[in-house]
Every structure is written in C-alpha cells, then in structure tokens.
C-alpha cells in the first residue's frame, strides 16, 4: 500500500487519532508519519506567540528596507527575512549582527524585560568583572588628568592596558 500523504513511498506506519466518532486513521510512510508527529504529542514547553514576534520583525524590516540593502549575518547568512520565516535567530552572532532590531524583539516577547540578571557563566564572570574594573579605572584616570596628577595617571593607564590585554577582549561579547 502506498503512503496516503505522499503517494510515493510504501506505507509502513498506521496512525490513528481520536476515538469514537472523532476517530481518523491514516496509513503513512515513515517520513510523512514523522512530519505529522508533532501534532500527536503536545509539548507545550516552547509555544509562544509567534505572531507577536513576526509582527515586530516585519515592522523592523520595513524600517530597514527604507534605509537600503538587507543586512546579512556573517556567521550563518541569516537576514531579517530568514529570521522572520523561521521565527528564530540563525546563530548566536545574529544577536550582535541585528543589534538594532534585537532589543525591540526581545522586549516584545519578554514582556518589556530587557536585561538578564540571572546566572552568568564562569568564564564570562571574570570578563565582566574585568570590564567593570576597567570602567572604574578609566573614571579614576580622567579625574587624575583633570587634577594634573600625571604620574599617578600613568600608573593607572598602564593598569588599564594590562587588564585589557589579560581580559582577552576579543570584541565578541
């Protein structure tokens, strides 16, 4: 027997849905059966209002198109178009590539929350700490320059350089 869905491959799987009057039966090949799989099991973990996201994305897109060509992510090749189509970003770097649209998208699906205050990976913990240290030192540096304490300023400047080198600031995050 041929698969009822594609009419090409041999039907190997018998799928029934519902019971009593609602009962429906299908004979499908494995591919088509797999494709119909999701509707058989509800897995509500990740359902979200995709329309909300798409709406915000397409609004952003039309704004963007007015300004010229479509931007493409260097890592995965995604454009706002493909992100809209998939309802997902293409890779972690998309968050940086589309940095103009991302905050708006996130704010919409996360009920206007925009900042992560939870767990930080061990590796980033030290990086973030170094970044904060550098910021503090830079403030101190400009204060010292203003009060013309150049000798001390030079020490601070070297400290900043040292931290920037050691912190592995590769600009990725």
């Amino acid at each position: 027997m041929k698969c009822e869905s594609c009419n090409v491959r041999e039907a190997t799987i018998h799928i029934t849905k519902g019971s009593g009057l609602d009962k429906s039966e299908k004979f499908l090949c494995e591919q088509c059966a797999n494709a119909s799989f999701e509707s058989d099991f509800s897995y509500p973990d990740d359902s979200f209002n995709i329309h909300q996201l798409l709406k915000s994305l397409s609004q952003q897109q039309s704004m963007h198109q007015q300004q010229g060509k479509q931007k493409e992510c260097e890592t995965c090749g995604s454009t706002i178009d493909t992100i809209v189509k998939n309802g997902k970003f293409g890779c972690p770097d998309c968050y940086t590539t589309f940095d103009r649209q991302v905050p708006e998208i996130i704010a919409r699906v996360q009920a206007h929350q925009t900042e992560h205050i939870g767990k930080v990976p061990k590796k980033s913990r030290s990086q973030i700490k170094v970044k904060k240290q550098i910021e503090t030192l830079k403030m101190k540096l400009s204060e010292l320059i203003e009060s013309q304490e150049f000798e001390e300023a030079a020490v601070i400047r070297d400290e900043i350089r040292e931290l920037e080198k050691a912190g592995g600031m590769d600009g990725a995050e």
Binding site: F41, S42, P44, L53, Y95, H116, G118, K119
Partner: protein
C-alpha cells in the same frame, strides 16, 4: 536504549494529592555555531559532541538515527525527548533514573532537563546547574552581558530556563475555574495548560504550570514565584474539592466508583476514557471515598499512552488486524490487571 518500562523515577514517585512531577530545562548554545535549524548535517557540532560524550560517559547515549519510530515515540511519552528532537535531534544523554536528559541539537544546541517528583524544584534546578557548570568546562557558551544566554528563539533568552510543575486539577476543571486562573497567571508571566492533548479538558485533567518569561528575573526568583503560585493553585484546588465533597458527595462517589468499575471491567478503552477514569479514581482516593492500594496515578497515566501499549503488544508477539483496536484492547487489559479486575 532506554527500558520499555516507565522511568525509575516515576516508578518510585510517591503519590500526593494535586502535585505531581516537576521539571527544569536549561537552553544553552555554543558560541559562533549556527543554531540547529540552520545546520543540515550537524558537522559544526562534531567537536562539541566529542567533548560532551567524554563529559557524560556515565550517561546512556541515545542516538536518534539508531532508533525506530516507535522507540522515539516512547521516549517522547517519557518526556525524555521532545517531538522536535525526534526529527532533528542528534544524541540524548540519559541517566540511569531517566530523570536527567541532555539533548543535543534540539531547538538549541544543548537542552539540559532534570525531572523529579516529591522533591523541591529548587533541588532539580541545582542538579541542572551542576550539569551546566560541568559543560561549561568543555564548551564556550554563547552569552551576552545584557541578554544572558543566547537562544534560537527569543522567548528563551536570558536564563534559558523553563521551570514547570505538573498538577492534577480535577475539581478546578469541573468548576470551570481553569480559564480565569490561567488568565491571572499570564499576567505574572506564567502559564497553565494541559500537558497531554489539546482542547478544553486536557487528558487526565493534568496541567503544567510554567514560567513564560526567561529574562529580567534570576533563576531563583522565577523558581520561587513558581513555587508560590503552585501553592496557591493547590490551595484553590483543595478548597474546590472540599466544596465538592460537602455539596455533591453522592455525585462524586457515583462518578468515582463508575470510573473504577470501567477500569476494572472494560475490554476496550480509548486513551481519553482511560485517562478520565484514572483521574476520577485518583480524586476518589484523595477524597477518601475510594480505597485502592498500589494505585499509582503518574505511572499509570504513562502506561496508557500509545507507544507504551504498542511496546507491550510487540513483546507478546500478538497478531492483530487493526493496531488501534489492539491498543485499545491492550489498554483495557492492562487496566484490569492493575486495578485487580479479571
């Protein structure tokens, strides 16, 4: 391959009124690698997979390309993998208790999931966090200072954490309170929905309470809020139950014992009917209008699912003309056996 029985942690789960199992899921991705839906062959993850394999050598590695359709369906029914994972997943690492599952190449590169019953959800989080930290030693996570853990879908960004608790809410369902309740929960960034099946009354009147937002709160805050909401819902359910008992005792007794009769004596049973009967009996036991030792709601609700029953049919080498009829018959047979019928 995982055993054909229910997971050990379900087998050993203590029965409690209302509260069932809980689950923590963390979504994690690797820096600079496209998300799974963008990669067709999974090559980019090869190196990562090797490292993961070494880190989880005490876990059972379950590879999707080695499994038959029925085996995958069984793992889905056990909540060890997701339907999406059956199509695009590569490997899942599962512990002996089957309470931990690490999926590689689900919607995100890595999904860490811990499940349990009768233990605080905080403990499940700590368990997931420990796995998370050991993974961190071997891979570089995609993390942004402002947006937190970066995920394929922006609905998971931030903590990447989904915390959920399963609740048996027959009285609130009967009193039509679920809709109002879930509307209220939505305003706090939480959702309440049926775990099995769709429609107004979910299978077995079992619901999943989970956080909708993953950003702007710490993991601990989300879990604490979830726990508080859970207690409130349980309280409302129990209040509704005592009203049922005082105002409609005869009706309650009647429907509980009818359902018990069906479980004990029927010869064919749809999933929907079996789930409803189990739910009624569970309520009857909780209310003290029916005594049934060895009744295990969580376990039996899993055993009546199609893939479990097909597995039983295969084990017995039974011949049948219609699979669906055979499954319905097997479901009734199993229920008769378990509830002490003939």
């Amino acid at each position: 391959m995982a055993q054909n029985n229910v997971s050990p942690w379900i087998e050993n789960a203590a029965e409690a009124p209302v509260e069932m199992s809980a689950r923590i899921r963390l979504a994690r991705n690797i820096r600079h690698i496209p998300f799974p839906h963008m990669v067709r062959d999974g090559d980019a993850l090869d190196e990562v997979l090797e490292k993961l394999g070494a880190a989880f050598d005490e876990y059972q590695k379950v590879s999707m390309n080695m499994l038959k359709f029925e085996d995958k369906a069984l793992l889905v029914e056990k909540h060890l993998i997701s339907p999406l994972f059956t199509r695009q997943g590569l490997h899942s690492y599962i512990n002996e208790e089957e309470s931990v599952s690490i999926m590689v190449n689900e919607e995100d590169h890595i999904r860490i999931q811990t499940m349990g019953a009768g233990i605080p959800i905080q403990d499940l989080y700590r368990e997931a966090e420990a796995i998370d930290e050991s993974l961190e030693d071997v891979v570089d996570y995609a993390f942004d200072e402002n947006f937190g853990y970066l995920t394929a879908c922006p609905t998971n960004v931030g903590t990447g954490m989904r915390a959920s608790i399963m609740l048996h809410l027959p009285a609130l369902t009967l009193g039509r309170k679920i809709e109002r309740l879930s509307g209220n929960l939505n305003r706090f960034g939480f959702t309440l929905r049926g775990i099995y099946g769709e429609g107004s009354v979910p299978l077995g009147q079992i619901y999943q309470l989970s956080n909708q937002l993953t950003l702007g709160q710490t993991e601990e805050e989300i879990i604490q809020n979830l726990d508080e909401l859970k207690s409130q819902i349980i309280e409302e359910e129990l209040e509704m139950r005592s009203r049922l008992q005082s105002e409609h005792l005869l009706e309650v007794k009647d429907s509980v014992h009818r359902s018990y009769g069906i479980l004990k004596h029927a010869y064919k049973m749809s999933l929907k009917e079996a789930a409803k009967c189990l739910s009624d009996v569970k309520l009857g036991i909780d209310l003290g209008v029916l005594e049934q030792k060895n009744f295990k709601f969580q376990k039996w609700i899993q055993l009546i699912q199609p893939a479990f029953l097909k597995m039983r049919l295969n084990e017995q080498h039974k011949h049948y003309t219609s699979l669906e009829q055979a499954v319905d018959e097997e479901r009734a047979t199993l229920m008769r056996e378990l509830s002490g019928g003939k």
